[in-house]
Amino acid sequence: MYVPVKGGERAIENAHKLLAEERRGNRDTPDLDVAQIDEQLALAVDRVMTEGSLYDRELAALAIKQARGDLIEAAFLLRAFRTTLARFGYSIPIDTGQMVVRRRISATYKDLPGGQVLGPTFDYTHRLIDFSLLEGADPENLEEGESDMGVTPHVLNILDREGLMEPANGSSGAQERGEDGEVHVGDLTREPLEFPADRDIRLQRLARGDEGFLLALGYSTQRGYGRNHPFAGELRLGEVRVGFVPEELGFEIEIAEITVTECEMVNQFKGSKNVSPQFTRGYGLTFGHCERKAMSMALVDRALRAKELDEEVEAPGQDEEFVLAHADNVEATGFVEHLKLPHYVDFQSELELVRRMRAEIEAAKVRNGDAEQIEAAE
Amino acid sequence: MSDNHEPLLVVDGLSKRYGAQLGCRDVGFSLWPGEVVGVVGESGSGKTTLLNCISARLTPDDGVVRYRTRLGTLSDIYQMSEPERRMLMRTDWAFVHQNPRDGLRMKVSAGANVGERLMAVGARHYGNIRGAADDWLSKVEIDTGRIDDLPATFSGGMQQRLQIARNLVTGPRLVFMDEPTGGLDVSVQARLLDLMRGLVGELGLAAVIVTHDLAVARLLSHRLMVMWRGEVVEQGLTDQVLDDPQHPYTQLLVSSVLQP
């Protein structure tokens, strides 16, 4: 006898048990330590912190463990946790000019003050599988390098000094200021996303956005869909201090030191016969070491400035609503995956409609056929 | 050069279907040098399908479209090689779209828009190209001071005039126009019609103009074809067709318009 499906409670419970089992895998293999993820899958942790928009290495590593290595799922876990946290206030903007640089390169100059610092990079490795890692070989110990290279100036300041660079706050200049005359920076986590969005909101959205999505969009601008002639002016990775002024103290204290990746693109000059040409900017910033993301973000940031720079908006990468509405992978994954939820009521209605339309067309065919036969007979 | 006693364009038995939907059926007509033919009818009557088929933009299912090239021979445009056909389309022919955005390059200046066809056929002297652009902008009554401006900064009427200049710069002999005054307000329409009539007369252009506006047809065309349900139901001299319509549909069409 047919029994209608009812209540999935037990099914769900069992599914969760299975999931836990699969997550653990073969019990002969040692359980993965969160510290191991943090240390040895550090770039996954960085990505999850960035897209989860919470700087906490241990939590991010734990989320990766729980998500079985599904990084979008892990970012989702982190976001869901973040939203429960009490907010004490806003930190003082970090100063990347004061960064203790571990990696810093510029593609626009062969050499420059502070030098090109390759740092830990895949860039010039040959992508050959290193079978020695199978045996768990440790690399040779590095000698302690000379510490503290001092403060490294931003590359774009060099162009800026000559007036070759547009001001950092863009050509629109006038930023929103509050009654106290302070520059007001929006907060995407407190206010809904509204269009048109200013650059502060756009950058926040991009910073949280999906690496793959931004990568593809940035790539599309390079291939002619909204081209903006980018040069990697500077890419830097290192540690910066985070300062905070607690109201009860009234002075700044250092609350953290975090790792960030910053990318400043130098783009296509604007100008005409009358207006001096200048280079324009695209900006990318991420938690941890997320170079690909920072670069993609900078490309897309620049592309999204099309309107402000009087460029025609013609490509997906320049379309603010398109980009910002779809950049967030937690939102995107939710909606794509919701298709797995039951939709049978809607589907039933569609089914009925399609059947009816087909029947009507069949009926019409029969009628016409009769008519033609009659005509032929006459 | 062929003399004016031979037709420039000969269309015969032209048909086009879109699946079960009829585009146009068994259309035939000839067009002589310097002659302007109007094609009128309501939306869906097949006028635009006809225009696209005879201007090498839409391959017909049946029928022949022949054009007398500058060599004097009458050639089937769908039998030509693609380079020949495309050359024809960008030198000897012009196509004016209803929406100027479809016929202009919105990202380059007015001057570049006018100069493009010249460069496409090998013009390589910047000064001369610019001179021609300048000349054509004044012919279509656009302030030559706007030569370096983007078309997006132009009004609808100016964009339409720029499209015409861009098309006529290579000295075509045949112009196809698809509702050239559609989308413009009435005073702007009048100015554009006046300009087009002047240019067509002055340059001795042959033209096929598709319009649903009988006033436009009366003002510009020597001859008129009335289309209804994909077929030409009546054709003749413009005044004759409009003042003494024979086909019931034409009578309906004419009576539905306020007489001037």
């Binding site: 100059y109 062969k110 050499d111 420059l112 003050p113 390759l118 860039d123 010039y124 040959h126 992508r127 050959l128 100036p153 060099i158 000094r161 000559e162 390079q222 291939r223 002619g224 869909y225 081209r227 100008g271 005409s272 016969k273 040409p277 490509a315 | 693609e82 380079p83 495309r86 960008r90 390059r105 380059v108 200046s109 001057g111 570049a112 100069g115 493009e116 066809r117 460069m119 496409a120 056929v121 390589r124 002297h125 910047y126 000064g127 190209i129 610019r130 030569i147 370096d148």
Partner: protein, 291 residues
Amino acid sequence: MAETSGYNFAYLDEQTKRMIRRALLKAIAVPGYQVPFASREMPMPYGWGTGGIQVTASIVGRDDVLKVIDQGADDTTNAVSIRKFFKRTAGIETTTQTHEANIIQTRHRIPEEDLRADQIMVFQVPIPEPLRFLEPRETETRKMHALEEYGLMHVKLYEDISQHGHIATTYAYPVAVKQRYVMDPSPIPKFDNPKINRSPALMLFGAGREKRIYAVPPFTDVHSLDFEDFPFEIQTWREACALCGATGSFLDEIVTDDAGGRMFVCSDTDFCEKRREAGHAGPALAAEGAV
């Protein structure tokens, strides 16, 4: 350096090399025409010279001497990396001296020294399609090439002049090869364009990510697009090279301090060193010598 075991000579298997050589032959037979080829995954990322590396790997023999430059210099990281790759996978001899090499793989420059008929230049190409930024669709651009519809290219140059007073393209400056195909010479500065025209050396261009190979055979006419009244011009500098004093070479700007200090030096490091060895000295060295 020891050769890497487990891989074929010069990394690619012989079948792949044969496929690439066929594409190369076709490219040479139709100068400037972009020949599609089945580009392979390489152990470097796309965009880092995989096209050039595949071309070099397909033509290199055991007796060849390879030079690799990036931005004109042998010591730039990517050049070092690629040179090392071929040393490792082919065990061939490499050099930094232009005259010693018979294969020169390059990114963004052509050496200053005149090339010879027994030399082959291999260019790394990011975007092979010169019309790409005017028309992003491949189906359209291939048709434009086939029908020789290049008016749009001149529209771009016209627009440059009308908006800036001169042609504003400075690198990847489009050329017409043998009065037929318009070609992207890869992002070399336009300064290097004249070196391709009627060069005795064979010029091969490989684009790995975009899967295209094209070529300019020796002694082929290569014309940089321009207008009669705005003829093609190359970059010039007021300064001479600070190290070797050269005045006719392509110069890089080097920022020397945080206060706007800078100097100009040859981008072609081999050329610059040779001149210094021959006793030439630019302002920077002359000043040092005087101390």
